[in-house]
């Protein structure tokens, strides 16, 4: 493996990474030091600067990219491995964010609701989303022809995406413990005010940037993996050919003893 694999690495990736780190640092500073504790929930309300943003990324950004990528792959005119890799990267990053959504929600639920977990429609459907994403990732790991794998995974991702609107509307469809929309309720009335609102909005920007960054890095890894697979195949082919050459060489030298045996 001496050859260098050239892979997709755009310049804007560094810019996104820097911006993600900067906005995250700013969110941490605003969230922990600048904003006041909440009137009712005290310091627990600071989770507001993480949980909604993480959940938004998990559901809408990751779910949206995965669905769009899969549809574009299945559509014959736009079929390209670019979309397949993008969808796979989105599901994987989405799984991380779904897990984070459950963990951060659970951390907040323990002091406020009194339980780590409750069988609430939104929690349950989010947990199902995580399981569906894990199923997709398991399917993706099954070795297969790249075209076949891409097609299978595209269908699986579309089936995963069916759960996203269910999670979204679960708070409206069922009477749940989980509150409805945080910043805007269906009547479009602002509920969060002042520095807390700005910090929260900033957290959305920060986590979105982190998502884009992770997505791009994961996409790059997919490209590298595919390239490495191709290269390994070539290397083993050349090795095999050189073995054949050696065997031919050995074969010709085995005629040596006969020659020596003859007077």
């Amino acid at each position: 493996m001496t050859a260098i694999i050239k892979a997709w690495r755009p310049r804007w990736l560094v810019a996104v990474a820097v911006a993600a780190v900067a906005t995250t640092a700013l969110t941490v500073w605003l969230g922990l030091w600048v904003t006041p504790p909440d009137e009712v929930q005290g310091n627990l309300a600071r989770l507001l600067y993480i949980h909604p943003a993480v959940a938004t990324v998990a559901l809408y950004w990751a779910g949206g990219v995965a669905l769009a990528g899969s549809l574009l792959y299945l559509w014959p005119r736009t079929r390209s491995f670019v979309w397949d890799r993008l969808a796979a990267a989105a599901v994987e990053v989405g799984a991380v964010f779904s897990a984070l959504t459950l963990v951060t929600g659970s951390l907040w639920g323990r002091p406020v609701w009194g339980v780590w977990w409750t069988w609430d429609a939104r929690l349950t459907s989010t947990a199902l989303l995580l399981l569906l994403e894990l199923g997709y990732l398991a399917l993706r790991r099954v070795p297969a022809d790249p075209h076949i794998r891409a097609r299978r995974c595209a269908v699986a991702a579309i089936l995963v995406a069916i759960d996203v609107p269910i999670v979204h509307f679960s708070v409206d469809w069922w009477n749940t413990l989980h509150q409805g929309g945080t910043i805007l309720d269906p009547g479009f009335e602002l509920h969060v005010h002042g520095s807390m609102l700005w910090t929260m909005l900033l957290s959305f920007v920060a986590f979105t940037l982190i998502f884009v960054w992770l997505l791009a890095v994961r996409y790059r890894i997919e490209v590298l993996q595919d390239a490495a697979g191709d290269q390994e195949l070539e290397i083993s082919l050349t090795e095999r050919w050189s073995e054949d050459d050696q065997l031919v060489g050995v074969g010709s030298s085995t005629s040596g003893p006969d020659d020596m045996g003859s007077p």
Binding site: L74, L128, G135, A138, A144, H147, R151, L159, I166
Partner: protein, 222 residues
């Protein structure tokens, strides 16, 4: 499409009728799940009766996985899938036919399970039409979603372990809604039951439509 569906369903059902795998493996398995869950809950008659709807549906769900695996296995022989693909049958027809075959088997299975919970747990359904409607709608949804995921896992060496992981979370809404409707049907609370029927209808419709659209691309990927 419908004609093709009837052909495929007929083929699958004939194979089932001759091989009797469904009869001698899936049905006993479903009854086994009933009994095992009864062991887990204990011999107390009233708690068993409370748990009966859930036990019925979980047994049905597990058996559905087996039925799907069987439905995929029918076409796992050398070149069988290619044969089906090259036969010129509309993929949507294949999907509908396989779903119909699985659905019919599930209906028979539900009859057995119903008899099982009645006999073993002394359960009496007060609102019979509610329970029957729930079973019919759920069968529709389970068969469509199941056949779709079966096609997704077809041709993979790890099919048998992958399929439950993929399909059980998807079927979870049926378990939830089905158990709730049955609880309502047992207690005679009709309005609570019809609320939960509203989940089973979109579930069945979504997987029917998605299956008709996506079965073609999936078949080429197998």
């Amino acid at each position: 499409m419908w004609h093709d569906a009837v052909l495929v369903a007929g083929k699958d059902l004939r194979i089932e009728a001759r091989s009797r795998v469904g009869l001698w493996q899936v049905v006993p398995f479903a009854l086994l799940v009933l009994i095992l869950l009864a062991f887990a809950i204990g011999p107390d008659q009233s708690s068993l009766r409370n748990a009966a709807p859930g036990i019925f549906w979980i047994a049905l769900l597990f058996s559905t996985v087996l039925a799907i695996q069987r439905s995929v296995a029918v076409e796992s022989g050398e070149g069988t899938r290619d044969g089906l693909r090259l036969s010129g049958i509309d993929p949507a027809g294949i999907f509908l036919g396989k779903a119909a075959a699985v659905g019919l088997q599930l209906l028979v299975l539900q009859l057995v399970l119903w008899a099982g919970v009645t006999f073993l747990f002394d359960v009496r359904v007060h609102v019979i039409w509610l329970a029957v409607v729930a079973c019919l709608l759920a069968t529709f949804g389970l068969a469509c979603a199941g056949v779709l995921y079966g096609a997704l896992s077809a041709g993979l060496r790890v099919r048998d372990t992958l399929l439950p992981l993929l399909v059980l979370p998807v079927l979870a809404p049926v378990l939830l809604a089905g158990s709730k409707v049955w609880q309502a049907a047992l207690s005679g609370n009709t309005s609570a039951g019809t609320q939960w029927l509203k989940i089973l209808v979109p579930f069945a419709v979504i997987y029917l439509v998605v299956g008709i659209v996506l079965y073609g691309p999936l078949q080429e990927a197998a």
